[in-house]
Symmetry: none
Subunit: 216 residues, 4 copies
DNA sequence: AATGAATGAGGGTTCATTCAT
DNA sequence: CATGAATGAACCCTCATTCAT
């Protein structure tokens, strides 16, 4: 589990904190279950067992299984979005740096690991039939896309480009998606560094006049 | 439904043909259900109802629900693979034509429509936890990837390239994946022609010395 | 159980008959359970157990517990109504005979026994909060009331009366209700014959010029 | 709500009074819930919510749900009985006045309103399967019956009667029951005055030599 | 006195599967 | 081949009750 949720730091908190703690604990257990079993086989009983709580308590905190799943998706979405936004803030103003920061953020270990990727695909797989999932996934994608496009336009203005910003952004985003999918289906032998390097090569191909590696 | 399964041409067939007919009918109903309900809400009863058959009859033809789902995935896989393979055969020997043929195949209406895309993502979403799905999906991807890579290498030999074949192939494949996902999540306002055009722009960016549109 | 439902006469029937048979069997089991446990403690598991069937099969035949309860009420209502209607037909045209026939019908052993009375009160007790129950109970009551009123009016025309028909009908109906309730709450020492005799005394009090016992 | 239970007069009481206040508050909430939901759907959570207290607090005051229901029935019973007993005391010694006082008491607004009638029937509906309810309901009925019978005997001795006291009492009691039930099932268009007038007509029919309206 | 967290048994219902017809 | 009845396990959820605070 990427986020340590132990009993030790549980005691001596107030009610509200306890409640938040339990919810987080249950969301992590839900992610575990979806990863290992898929959404269609994830049950409240298994989630409760994994979290070490009673099944009734799960309902007490989330009211329904569906609400728990939605909260889990929100949690993932928040983590994903804040991750690349923080990376962007740290990157400064240079659009080249910003572009590379977004790419790297998409492969950050906290985000890009088998457990999380697996759950993202599980939600995508159900998104067609569950409008709420689609809405959250769509908003998440859109924000990333829009930001990426703005950066590509900035680069194009500064350094020119061999590809219009719209298509360039689509290429970068697509390549990330493709690599995520590769990782899901063909997990063995996937190297994070090689993935990032491949996208960077594409950047240099599309923007030949950019200072490659200027970030370092 | 893209494949017409009517009662009219049902009579006057021999046993084996009838059986094949029923199976195809049920697989189409399964695709419908997964599209509309998601895998987790797809039940034998709903599949049977959609196919206009009794529930017992479904079991008779496929033995179990899991087998039906697997057959459905195989059906999709076969359709997908034979589609690009036929496009490849029709394209001739010029690697430029072949590359564009594969791209276009990936967006062929028979393959690239909401119903089918939706089901593909549903299977990917469950693939992590069901080895059989993963195996089929993986093999399907691998064959496409390998062929794409070979074509890119051929182009590179003939015309040179701004990107090594491995990365180029990854770019094309990734862009296709990304566009599929865009289509799934953000279906409104998606234009097939624009999607193909975007990938073609990337081709010309990576392979500037290729005769764009030479295919025609 | 007042209606014999044995396994013997079950075999060798067609599908539709079997289904009707099962439904009847389950309704009888439901009546048993409501009688013994009350509606609030009546569960599908107990109904199924009493009927000797699986719980899933109950749902198969009635779709839901609520539907089963409603069908049970309809069954009771039908039995009650057809009982006094048949008695009325057998009574002929003399309103005196008809009045006494309706009274006697209300205390017929098939209707007026602890098991059935108990279930009627159970439904009345829930009727306030379940419109469907109320509707059925209301219609049942109304039909009985209207018929009783018409008879009282006929008697009044023929023999005169010490009480207007409306109030007379209300008295007879009320006395029946009161005796039902006495029977429910204070079952020990209740005698059917005495109950009927008491209502008959009231008839003679209100209609002194009627030929008492003319029916015999 | 017929009995005002406000927060205002809650403060500045001693322990015992506070406790009594809370109990009364919860009993009123229970009556509300049974009226609106029926006994089978009444839960501690809903009672607590309606009373504006926490669920744990309900258990604290009544120990168990069953105890709360029993206390509610006792509360109703006490209210019902003291109502007609007070009416009797106010009526004086004339049995004619006393009879009419009992009838009017049975339709007093505090007793005879939809909310209370609904709850009485709910308890009757469960009484068959819960001996304690039956006992309370039975005792309540019996006391009323016995008193009514004694009054009828007194009238008979003074003025004569067209009906023996036993049957006359049964008639009055039955008519009350019948009107209660009419009110439950067919609430629209029920007029309290007409109900009382109807029973009074029956009195005059049975006791022609009594001074009708002598009470005034 | 009062709260909300926690439990666990049992509720109605779903559903893949089996089977007699 | 085809059907619908039948099963039983597992599902999500409810709820009376307990308990720490």
């Amino acid at each position: 589990m990427s986020t340590p949720v132990t009993e030790k730091n549980f005691a001596s908190r107030n009610r509200k904190q306890q409640s938040e703690f339990r919810k987080r604990q249950l969301i992590e257990a839900t992610i575990d279950c979806i990863d290992k079993l898929g959404i269609s086989q994830t049950t409240l009983a298994k989630i409760a067992e994994r979290a070490g709580l009673s099944q009734g308590n799960v309902v007490f905190h989330f009211h329904s299984k569906e609400a728990l799943l939605e909260q889990t998706l929100h949690y993932l979405n928040h983590e994903y979005r804040s991750n690349w936004q923080q990376a962007l803030e740290a990157a400064g103003d240079d659009p080249n740096d910003r572009l590379r920061a977004m790419i790297e953020a998409a492969f950050a270990p906290k985000i890009f690991n088998r457990r999380k990727i697996s759950v993202w695909f599980a939600f995508w797989g159900e998104s067609r039939s569950r409008p709420k999932y689609k809405q959250v996934c769509g908003a998440s994608d859109q924000a990333f896309s829009d930001t990426l496009l703005a950066i590509c336009e900035a680069i194009e203005r500064q350094h020119g480009a061999r590809l219009v910003a719209r298509t360039a952004a689509l290429s970068f985003e697509g390549m990330i998606d493709g690599l995520w999918q590769n990782f899901l289906i063909n997990d063995a032998g996937f190297k994070r560094d090689q993935a990032i390097a491949a996208v960077f090569e594409l950047i240099e191909c599309i923007y030949p006049d950019i200072r490659a590696g200027a970030k370092n």
